[in-house]
């Protein structure tokens, strides 16, 4: 950095002194901590990959693998299962039906409670709490319009960039919902942060949302648009057109 010519003598002296201010050396365990964090992260990524599909396939394979040594066991289990099914299908038990209704009612109440908790946590002033709230959407079996609207509002107006990014990730998971897709397209013009703009561009490509091209073109007209973001948007328009 060149010394500013407009500085007076004292300012020049301070500028020089700043260059001589000592900076601490990294402690020896800093590198160890970094590698531990990296290893943990890699393990998490591997776990996710493994647990998602291959484990499911393996288990499915195991269940359907026919083992001759277990012939008798298979036969007995099949007979017992068909007996049980036949018993319940033939004689509907009033108590069992009532219990089933209770369970359904209870689970829908739990669902409502989770939804309420999530909506109120989104209003929390602490970003960490709002992040938690967004992550709760994954636990909701059914996401209704109220939740979607709350998430879209968070995406468009939360002051914390990380919260907005996590919200975007959650909304991408709900990409089949037309309301979500429409909301994401509309959000393009409301975002100022380059990170979120880029993440939204990725999302549009992922969801193959061609309606966003018009919004992207409008965004390109914006003054002060980050150079890198501009490049990304141009690429996205090419992919989607």
């Amino acid at each position: 950095m060149m010394m500013n010519e407009e500085f007076d003598d004292i300012e020049k002296q301070l500028w020089e002194q700043m260059g001589n201010l000592p900076t601490p050396n990294p402690s020896p365990n800093m590198k160890t901590r970094f590698h531990a964090m990296l290893d943990t992260y890699k393990a998490e990524v591997e776990d996710k990959k493994a647990s998602s599909f291959s484990v499911f396939l393996m288990k499915l394979k195991q269940v359907f693998t026919y083992k001759t040594s277990n012939n008798w066991a298979y036969a007995i289990i099949l007979i017992m299962m068909s007996g049980i099914i036949g018993y319940f299908a033939g004689k509907p038990n009033n108590q069992a039906v009532a219990d089933q209704n209770d369970v359904k009612k209870l689970s829908s109440e739990v669902q409502e409670m989770k939804e309420m908790m999530m909506l109120s946590m989104l209003e929390n002033p602490t970003a960490t709490e709002r992040l938690k709230a967004v992550s709760y959407t994954q636990e909701l079996n059914k996401v209704d319009d109220k939740v979607i609207d709350a998430l879209l509002t968070t995406l468009n107006s939360d002051p914390n960039e990380n919260v907005r990014l996590v919200t975007l990730e959650a909304l991408i998971q709900l990409g089949n919902n037309p309301r979500v897709r429409e909301g994401l397209v509309q959000s393009l013009m409301k975002q100022e942060s380059p990170l979120v703009q880029v993440a939204l561009a990725d999302a549009m490509v992922k969801l193959q949302e061609k309606r966003s091209v018009k919004q992207f073109k409008q965004l390109l007209q914006k003054e002060n648009l980050n150079k890198a973001v501009k490049g990304k948007i141009e690429k996205t328009i090419q992919v989607l057109s």
């Binding site: 500013n4 970094f34 960039e161 990170l195 990725d202």
Partner: protein, 174 residues
């Protein structure tokens, strides 16, 4: 970073080797606390992994890195609800001047302490431009990209920051 983005996470080790000292200096001169700064550096590398998909192919890595670092710093200040700058400079100065010393070294130590005290009192906006320009050796153009403003605006900010620093420093001396 592009390799990290495409899944070669081991390459993050190279980025750590190259940039951890610069990031440590950024946080140390922004917060005045060395141990806390190491935690913040760790958080930046974690976020690089987590948000690697947001890195743009033709983008400048340093700009993206300082963008994340600024967010980490702001989050930390909000989270801790305390003064953004608490200097442990005294121990640093002692560390730097433990060599057999003459009066001159003592004088220099005093100068550094005064300057650190003045930096601590500087507004966070002005401290940020000074840290980026003086301690990170970034050009005005790069700083403008990080702060999403124009190069001219950064020049003005640095100029004003130096005026404010001088005024605080001179008050400290009295």
């Amino acid at each position: 970073m592009l390799k990290v983005k495409t899944g070669d996470l081991d390459k993050m080790g190279l980025l750590f080797e190259r940039y951890h000292r610069a990031l440590l200096a950024f946080f140390y001169h922004s917060t005045g606390q060395s141990a806390h700064s190491e935690d913040l550096v760790q958080t930046v590398f974690y976020r690089m992994l987590k948000y690697r998909h947001t890195f743009i192919e033709n983008g400048e890595f340093r700009t993206w890195m300082y963008h994340l670092a600024r967010n980490v710093l702001n989050d930390s200040i909000k989270k801790n609800h305390r003064m953004s700058y608490q200097s442990d400079m005294t121990s640093m100065s002692e560390q730097a001047f433990t060599e057999p010393s003459a009066d001159k070294q003592l004088e220099k130590k005093q100068e550094h302490e005064n300057l650190h005290a003045a930096l601590a009192k500087l507004s966070s906006e002005h401290r940020e431009v000074l840290v980026l320009s003086r301690f990170q050796d970034l050009s005005y153009n790069e700083i403008a990209d990080i702060l999403q403003t124009t190069e001219g605006n950064i020049k003005v900010k640095v100029h004003r920051a130096m005026k404010e620093l001088k005024s605080i420093y001179l008050k400290e001396m009295i």
